[in-house]
Amino acid sequence: MLIDKTSSKPGKQTTSSGQDKQPEQVLLTDMDINIERLHRFLGGGEDVVCRTLQHRSFDNTRYAILYIDGIVEGTTINTLLLSLLDDANNSYTNEKSSEGAGLYHHLTEQSIAIGKLSEVSTIEQAGYSILEGSTVLVVDGSLRAIVMDTTGGKTRAVEEPSSQTVIRGPKSGFTENLRTNTSLIRRIIKSPDIRFDYKMIGRQTRTNVAVVYLEGIAEQEIVNEVHRRLDKIDIDGVLESGYVEEFIQDRAFTPFPLLQNTERPDAASAALLEGQVVVMVSGTPFVLIAPVTFAKFFQSSEDYYQRYDIATFLRIIRMASFFISMLLPSLYIAITTFHQEMLPTSLLISLAAQREGIPFPALLEAFLMEITFEILREAGVRMPRIIGPAISIVGALVLGQAAVQAGIISAAMVIVVSFTAIASFVIPAVNMGIAARLIRFVLMILAGTFGLFGIMSGLMILLAHLCGLRSFGKPYMMPFSPFVPSNLKDVLIRVPWWAMRKRPLNISNDSNVVREGAGQKPSPDQEGA
């Protein structure tokens, strides 16, 4: 599809394969040489299929189709062959002009039962199309070849997203297939303004990447910037959107994600409607969204499907969990080892009672438990599913209960660590949760050395860092710093839909921000009118 000269925009294409330095081989009139060269180009694998045919009406001119088995749609190939064979046996009396060129035109115009066709004139172009799943038809005596889009083969079906689940909302998720993913977006946004700009990244993998945006709603500057950054990438392979993310994020050294990722078509569409740019990478269900702000990572697509009061409550819970997962262990360490006077007496006595006979200082105790938990969590993700119950038994019983009973870890610390762990999973964006987890360890050390003073200075540095971050040039802490009051409608709270008349300012094209009609607040007066 990438070399389809008729449909894609010129200039937006890039073949970032700096590899092919040697002059391109043009197709010759001799079909056998062409096929031979194509075979050589493709490395002559067993899965390269070459089917030769002869056309009765055109002096038995030979022609052939080449494709790679498995990455083409089997049924499409069969239909193609049927139509070709059927055509080959027909006799067309009035078209006996010349063999090669005549047959070529006849085939393109009258016989191929494939929707999308294009033509190429070099071995490389033809070869790369075959590698992408297209079928190439070469005709003896023609200097050009027909590329037929037969991409397909076995791909995963559209399933419910496993990483971002909702209770209420669409259940479809992106798949590894770029075409499926673009179609999922197309099915949601049927606007003619939607743009899909394709590129290819990766010398070896030649991964297709689509830049999706709504023209007129997205800021053109940002779209251009996305293109510019994507064009700069020179790498041998792109296996996941994470590869791309690391190349195009604004700053390399930060624990915070500067691009959002989602495997939900509805979330991606919502981003498009707010003027953000979506980058889709073939081979992964996770698409990237840019530019983003810090607050976006605490929003779930479900916030917009549940009623606004519920959504607001859930959002506040998530924000609170973020702070808990970042701060709770360090606060516990700081208060129990430096500021015991801050605790209520009865709580202090019960904590002190639990700490009796614990051999480690609170900092070490917390580190032990936190690292234990991180190992358990990682084991839970990596282990084969069958071993699952074993891990949970060992984790909960042996490490939790036994450690407390043996007097190695205090029960309060187990409570703190478990609560922290649960809180860290509340954050909808996994990468933001991991950021909180990393910062937690730094804050724990600060708390263990300087107490609350350490935590405060750590948070100050963190805040300064956050305020300095940019995502595609847009301030990361946007509605707060710089302060954009109108954007606050959808950050800590979510106001009802009829009150969010404007798209978030400063993210999208600011000359076109109104997204809904005025005065839609439901009221009894409207009934009659």
Partner: protein, 410 residues
């Protein structure tokens, strides 16, 4: 660029090492502190004896129902150290306790009578100079030694230090006879214009001690900690006690009555005598100095709202006259309390009612002369009482039970 990165890395590394060299310098783990719940101060004639009531957390958790060891363990331990100064005595504790004394959760400081007579200035200095101690600690006086008070167990509260604080707070909230005096208030009163202060008394009622957990094997314990009288201080030294009745009067004059009660004698039509108990729901007092022909007088304007709790007289409370009668009775009672307290204050030669401050504020010019011999001025100043007593509620039944019985008999 690379150089800059390198230098930043170097700086960060150095900073990291710098933070490591400090260690965790004033870090102290929970199992390295001895949580002190009460402190006792005694004076033996030439040195201070400071007693500490230290909580044993492990024993507490077993008392509270955790998995404990064998048999009941005392949740608190009491020990004393001696020194020339209070802090000197506390320093000596390091040579006999495995853990560092931790005073931030100290609830009460109990001062023995002898120490009170010696003076509390030094104690106040200790509290204000050190950040580890809190000025919100309640001060209590005791006629014997403070150590004995600290040694007593209390019912319902494993840590008697915390229990004493709870008693004084609940007493102040419900009957307002004795005020809760935190260290900062004691300091303020001692340094005030009148240089007089009060400290509530706590004592062991009963001859035996309840200093063993064995006592809790039965339904009654041999002795109890009780709040008693009010110790009166003049120039940081104790000069005498005020009875509970005088103390209540003092509470009215100090405007520290939150909730209290009065028992008013009453009489029905047939001359049968009884008592009405009235709960004081609200009370506010203004002590106003007045200068009349070179004679300083004080007027106490008390505004009291009460509710009838109990009535043993056969009265028809629907009649406004009866209510007026009740109000008058209450008025008399409160006035009598005020007068009694005032007289006792004059007798002890201490102005614990804050009269000096009020006079200072109202007559700043004359104060210059009065302040030189305020005790004499105060001693001669009479108190006039204006009590406004208002019955707000009669309770759920308007007629007394006696009255209803009589009616039925008819």
């Amino acid at each position: 660029m690379r150089l800059r990165f390198k230098s930043i890395c170097c700086a960060m590394l150095l900073l990291l090492f710098a933070s490591l060299t400090t260690g965790c310098w004033n870090r102290i783990e929970l199992n390295e502190v001895a949580i002190t719940s009460a402190t006792g101060i005694d004076w033996d004639g030439n040195s201070w004896i400071v007693s500490y009531q230290v909580v044993i957390p492990a024993a507490i958790s077993s008392v509270m129902g955790g998995s404990g060891g064998s048999g009941p363990k005392s949740p608190i331990i009491v020990y004393s150290t001696k020194g020339k100064t209070i802090r000197d005595a506390i320093m000596h504790s390091y040579s006999e306790s495995p853990r560092k004394l931790f005073f931030a959760h100290n609830r009460v400081v109990v001062i023995g009578e002898k120490a009170l007579q010696h003076g509390v200035n030094e104690l106040i200095d200790v509290y204000f100079r050190n950040s580890s101690t809190r000025e919100t600690v309640s001060v209590l006086a005791t006629p014997g030694t403070a150590r004995r008070i600290l040694e007593q167990f209390m019912q319902l509260q494993a840590i008697s230090g915390a229990g004493m604080k709870e008693i004084i707070l609940s007493e102040m909230k419900n009957t307002s006879i004795l005020p809760n005096i935190p260290v900062y208030q004691l300091a303020m009163e001692v340094t005030g214009d009148a240089k007089s202060a009060v400290v509530p008394e706590i004592f062991v009622s009963g001859t035996e001690d309840t200093s063993s957990l064995d006592s809790f094997g039965s339904t009654s314990i041999p002795s109890k900690l009780k709040l008693g009288r009010l110790a009166v201080l003049k120039d940081d030294k104790m000069i005498g006690w005020m009875s509970r009745k005088e103390s209540l009067g003092a509470s009215y004059l100090r405007d520290s009555v939150k909730q209290s009660f009065v028992v008013v004698p009453c009489e029905d039509d047939k001359g049968k005598k009884g008592y009405d108990t009235i709960q004081i729901l609200k009370s506010s007092t203004k002590v106003i100095p007045k200068l009349k022909s070179n004679q300083l007088t004080f007027t106490a304007e008390v505004d009291v709202t009460g509710s009838l709790l109990e009535s043993t007289c056969s009265q028809d409370l629907y009649k406004p006259g009866i209510i007026q009668l009740l109000e008058q009775g209450g008025q008399l009672q409160v006035s009598a309390l005020l007068q009694e307290a005032w007289k006792r204050g004059q007798q002890l030669n201490t102005d614990i009612f804050g009269a000096a401050e009020k006079t200072h504020r109202k007559y700043p010019k004359q104060w210059k002369t009065w302040s030189k011999n305020w005790d004499q001025v105060f001693k001669q100043a009479p108190l006039e009482t204006k009590v406004k007593f208002r019955m707000a509620r009669m309770g759920l039944s308007n007629k007394s039970f006696d009255y209803l019985m009589e009616k039925r008999e008819k």
